[in-house]
């Protein structure tokens, strides 16, 4: 609270309201667990936490450090609850679980949850979406300033989740301006310069797959890079293997990516992965009129078609 802003008793902070909500959900048995964030290894970092007990509710926080998408952790939690297939000792994805999990969702995470439901990956009644308005995450790179926000947050037009069961705090005003401005700016560069930019970015990649594993939409049981018969991609950390990995990942998340920025934030070496995804998001929206994470009913754009789709590029 900034001094002098208000003399009246300060309203409850977003985090306090969040804790109250979580406590209520657990107490009233509306949820068996709450997946949220707790303070991490430093005051600038938050880490995912699974709250099972009312007494642990006070660990929950929500602020501009809560960058990681909780969706992969939600999926992991649900998977763990399904138990292991006794024969293969691996979690059985087809098993059922009656676990109801409340999950803290900022705008982008809410969209990711919607998209998961749309893609049949998540049952709507299995999650209690605890929506929070989000003012953006602090730049996860080494910028010392709290003012600067992540690239995906700067262009974000969905600070509030489109679907929620409970909303905590006040909705955040939607930003204006062209969310694809950065893409347009980049496209002004000549082809060779764009290539040079990507070459330089992807030279940093060490193939740790943090981007993939932190991505709410990367949920393939076996990623193409892990397939060995055939071995699609060399395993070296050299280009073009790295380039192909990121290209295929972008193509596979095209029309599904919610631009949450989890991949960029996860990257330990600061590869700017989001730009290509954003361009494909634009393409899918303009060409097919589809935006990911807004409807649980609509078929994802790349899984369907229209006879009227433009085909100016086909000979």
């Amino acid at each position: 609270m900034k001094a002098g802003k208000s003399q009246t008793p300060s309203p409850k902070s977003q985090a306090e309201q969040l804790r109250e909500t979580a406590r209520m959900l657990l107490k009233e048995e509306k949820a068996d667990l709450v997946v949220g964030y707790e303070r991490g290894s430093s005051k600038r970092r938050a880490r995912p936490v699974v709250i099972r007990d009312e007494k642990d509710v006070d660990r929950l926080i929500f602020d501009n450090t809560c960058g990681p998408s909780l969706v992969p952790f939600l999926r992991k939690t649900l998977r763990a609850a399904k138990g292991r297939d006794s024969k293969s000792q691996t979690p059985n994805p087809k098993a059922e679980t009656s676990l109801r999990v409340a999950v803290v969702a900022k705008g982008c995470d809410g969209r990711a949850l919607v998209q998961q439901v749309a893609e049949g990956q998540l049952k709507r009644d299995q999650v209690v979406i605890v929506g929070v308005g989000c003012n953006g995450m602090r730049d996860s790179r080494r910028a010392s300033s709290d003012e600067k926000r992540d690239a995906s947050c700067e262009r974000c037009r969905y600070p509030n989740p489109p679907v929620y069961d409970v909303f905590v705090g006040e909705p955040v005003e939607v930003g204006t301006g062209d969310e694809f401005a950065g893409v347009a700016e980049f496209e002004k560069l000549a082809s060779a310069d764009r290539w040079a930019w990507f070459e330089r970015e992807l030279a940093k990649c060490i193939r740790c797959y943090a981007c993939r594993n932190a991505c709410p939409m990367c949920y393939c049981e076996e990623c193409f890079v892990d397939q060995t018969k055939p071995l699609w991609l060399g395993k070296s950390a050299e280009r073009p293997d790295t380039t192909l990995f990121h290209l295929v990942r972008a193509l596979h998340t095209a029309g599904r990516c919610v631009d949450c920025g989890a991949c960029e934030r996860a990257c330990p070496l600061g590869v700017r992965l989001g730009l290509l995804n954003k361009r494909l998001e634009q393409e899918v929206r303009e060409r097919f009129g589809y935006t990911a994470g807004l409807s649980m009913e609509a078929t994802p754009a790349l899984a369907t078609y229209s006879e009227e789709d433009k085909q100016e590029f086909i000979l």
Binding site: S41, K76, T90, C208, A266
Partner: protein, 359 residues
């Protein structure tokens, strides 16, 4: 006998050119706000003082390295080195990590020729760590921000200059030959500043944690539910292993140029967190889940490595915390292991008492 000298920052290039004339030199370089280890030719490329994000092992054990080249059925080992390798500006934790890796690659029944090619006759110029981070815990791992172990020469930043001290004969010889004539000795004021930097760094670190009981505790935690629990907070990516200065597991792959029989057999950093790591051709996987893989990682560093080499395979650099996308904190794991260890110990004691009573 160790000698010390003063290197004014504008004169650092002299040191760097002395190094590059004899060595292939690697140092911290800033790439868009991330510090990675790269080959350097001049002092102005260096980002000295920044915490290195990439691991120092890259200079001696590159992520992708050719084991042999082949053409048809004939193969050939890669050529020898032109120059030995030197690194400059690495923190003491990183310098120390090289000693641990040398135990793996440089000792035992088989020596690793590729490691030796780079590591033998190498020179390590450490930079005292004057700004430990919140994630640093070198002091809990038996080291410290100015620990000389692993460095041949140690630099201390005193503002406008570095104090350079030799820590080994090799370092001493290098300084002598590189600075034949124009040696500038540090003044008492310089040495005082260096001393202040040291105490400031020590004060900035959190008090050392006692992890001495971890290995014993781990021995009893094979089946513990702890692994299930902590695995939930892990995304099973390879960031920690690849950035860890002591992780050394690798994969071997053949890469053939399309349409030819020419190619190379390369080794590539690998991570025990990937399911493919132990998956056999038959499909059987002895470590099927993230629980088993997480356990392997912790056990390898804090138990198996101790069994095999007498030391913990962790130098407390904190990269695996700082750069983890899930902010997974190995220190917390160690604390929990300790606590679990105490608990099982108490239980055992309890059981024994019960037995005695019953008897």
């Amino acid at each position: 006998m160790s000698s010390s000298l003063r290197i004014a920052k504008p004169d650092l290039d002299q040191l760097v050119s002395a190094l590059t004339s004899r060595y292939q030199l690697f140092g911290p370089v800033d790439v868009d706000g991330v510090t990675v280890l790269r080959e350097v030719k001049s002092a102005d490329e260096l980002a000295l003082g920044a915490a290195l994000d990439g691991p120092v092992k890259a200079a001696f054990f590159p992520q992708t390295e050719t084991l042999l080249t082949y053409d048809g059925t004939t193969s050939e080992a890669p050529p020898g080195r032109d120059k030995p390798t030197a690194v400059i500006g690495v923190r003491p934790c990183d310098a120390r990590s090289l000693l641990l890796l040398d135990k793996v690659f440089g000792t035992g029944k088989y020596r690793d020729p590729l490691w030796q090619r780079r590591h033998d006759d190498s020179l390590v110029i450490g930079l005292g760590c004057s700004a430990p981070l919140e994630t640093c815990f070198c002091n809990s791992m038996g080291s410290g921000p100015f620990d000389a172990e692993g460095s041949d020469i140690m630099l201390t930043d005193i503002g406008d200059a570095f104090v350079a001290e030799s820590c080994t004969d090799k370092g001493e010889r290098f300084l002598k030959t590189a600075y034949k004539s124009q040696v500038q000795r540090p003044s008492q004021a310089d040495l005082d500043k260096a001393g202040q930097a040291r105490s400031k760094a020590l004060a900035a670190l959190a008090p050392a944690a006692d992890y001495s009981g971890v290995k014993t505790a781990l021995a009893k935690l094979w089946e513990s539910a702890l692994w299930d629990e902590i695995a939930l907070g892990c995304l099973s990516c390879g960031a920690c292993a690849y950035l860890c200065p002591t992780c050394h597991c690798f994969d071997v792959q053949d890469e053939t140029a399309p349409g030819t029989q020419q190619g190379r057999r390369v080794r590539i950093w690998d991570t025990c967190q990937a399911s493919l790591f132990t998956k056999e051709a038959s499909g059987h996987n002895p470590r099927p889940g993230s629980k088993e893989r997480m356990r392997q990682r912790v056990m390898h560093k804090f138990s198996y490595f101790v069994d095999n080499f007498g030391e913990t395979a962790c130098v407390g650099c904190g990269r695996c915390i700082r750069l983890c996308p899930a902010d997974f904190d190995v220190r917390q794991v160690l604390e929990r292991v300790k606590a679990e260890g105490r608990r099982t110990k108490d239980e055992e004691r309890g059981t024994k008492k019960d037995v005695r009573h019953a008897g």
